[in-house]
């Protein structure tokens, strides 16, 4: 190897090393994208910084509504065995890559170490969210596992990810920008709003009120015990399905683009809704 080649090799090594160092210290935020890839380059669990789990048990006496605010990740809500809200929140720094081989973590360990569950209690409403001490929440994937007294109304808001809400009987409000929303409740009203993705809802209510499903671009399907029902209206590229009812459990499920399905499983509801 002559002197010129050696110098060139040294320069290349220096440039690659500098780039790798820079990339590790400066994750790409230029387009302010938030991602939630389930598998693969962008969304794999951290290889450099381990997950951190936060827990909270909160008395629900005097409350009638639980609010949850999540940026990117997963939210799973089930019934609590007592009159407390039990929260387990796992945080994972998201990983980014360049050319499929150079990986670095978006959320650094000090971001996660500063995290806590923020509780905002106003009147009869408790709202929970992640407090990351001012750090960028989009660099951290949040996995919420929340147990709720079934009497409470749930009011959840999420930017990107998956929401899975089960057992809540006091009513469900759910808003999601992009992702999948799954609801399976014994009774109560449902107000769901997803911009892009899918809504799969199931209610065992036997006292439904007005039911409205709408997808601006996509399909809307109302099922009574497996059979399609409701009044269908096609407009543009979308669909709407509606059904009247005189019970207290109104259900309004809306999508901008995607599929929405509501399955009413109560035989009593099917009887009342038939032909309306």
């Amino acid at each position: 190897m002559n002197k010129t080649t050696a110098v060139l090799v040294a320069i290349i090594v220096l440039l690659v090393g500098s780039f790798a160092w820079y990339a590790a210290k400066h994750p790409d935020r230029s387009s302010e994208m938030r991602d939630d890839t389930e598998q693969g380059v962008v969304g794999e669990d951290s290889r450099h910084v381990g997950p951190r789990t936060l827990n909270a048990d909160i008395e629900a006496a005097g409350l009638d509504t639980l609010g949850l605010q999540v940026r990117v990740g997963e939210l799973r809500v089930t019934a609590s065995h007592d009159d407390e809200v039990h929260v387990q929140l796992t945080l994972r720094p998201k990983e980014r890559s360049f050319l499929g081989f150079l990986h670095w973590s978006g959320g650094l360990s000090h971001d996660i170490s500063a995290a806590s569950i923020h509780q905002d209690r106003k009147d009869k409403r408790l709202t929970l969210s992640l407090d990351l001490d001012g750090h960028d929440q989009d660099e951290v994937k949040q996995e919420w596992d929340v147990q709720v007294p079934v009497r409470l109304k749930l009011d959840s808001v999420m930017n990107v990810g998956e929401m899975d809400i089960a057992d809540v009987a006091g009513g469900v409000g759910a808003k999601l920008d992009v992702g999948e929303l799954e609801i399976d409740v014994p009774q109560g009203s449902i107000d769901a709003d997803v911009n892009v993705g899918e809504i799969r809802a199931k209610s065992a209510s036997s006292h439904h009120g007005r039911i409205q499903l709408a997808s601006n671009i996509g399909d809307a399907t109302l099922l009574f015990q497996g059979a399609e029902s409701g009044v269908h209206e096609h407009g543009g590229l979308g669909n709407k399905v509606s059904m009247d009812g005189d019970g207290p459990d109104s259900m309004d499920l809306r999508l901008n683009i995607g599929q929405v399905t509501l399955h009413l499983t109560s035989a009593d509801a099917a009887h009342k809704g038939a032909g309306k």
């Binding site: 387009s31 994208m33 693969g40 050319l99 499929g100 992009v178 096609h234 590229l237």
Partner: protein, 271 residues
Amino acid sequence: MTRHLIVFGTLAAALALTGCSVRDSGSEPVTLKTDIPAAGLQFLSLKGTAGETSISVSPDDAVHVTLVMQQEERHVLGIALSTEATLRDTEGAKIGQVHKGDTLTLSVIFPSGDDHNSDVKQEWTVQVPERFGVDASMGEGRMAIDGVKGGVKAQLAAGEVVIHVPSGAIYGRLSAGRLHVISDADEPRDVTIKSTFGLAVLSLDGQYYGPPPEKNDGFLSHLHMLGNSVTQQGKGKDDVDLKVTAGLADLRFGPLGDNEVRRDIFKDDKH
């Protein structure tokens, strides 16, 4: 006696074939054409069966439709046969038009009322004004949608869907095959791409989002047996929702990156 039975059997078989109203192979394709003024219209809804659908931009403010129907031949003892009833139905078919609000719905109407899902191949070539939104669904085959700005809703049971639009929301569903989508808009708003058994990938302004390719760069590296999903949020106006049960779903916004991962997948397939 045996000879008489053979002769009688042969004659009976010949008569039976004649009685079935069959023709020799060579049934000619039937072509229907129509031009529809598009004033007041904003959406096209088209429901095809097996075959091909191509939807592109019209040079004027009209919808131009060409439908070629070809009876699928049935083979008996190596001889291609066509049923007389299907041929009559194909020759008597018309393009059905329903105007409802700002939506034009197209379908093929056969005199018998049958839909001939299984025995007539349909090739639709439709041109619509650029402002249109398109809602197209088919059974099996190939669907290509090009150039429209008013949004796309495409559904196919099996085969290939190719969409290339300058802008607009896109909703795609495919049971098995490939869903290949390109938008020339700079950036999307909300995007979700999912393949239950297969691969879902996104190219956004030259950057790849999706599972890393296998280290072995051979043929097997393109196989991805377990599914994945990709979700992104941007600052654009257009939302995209693509889902494939088994196969490949790929979406590109912006130009290809020079060294982009899985670059070949995102190329513009000329159709």
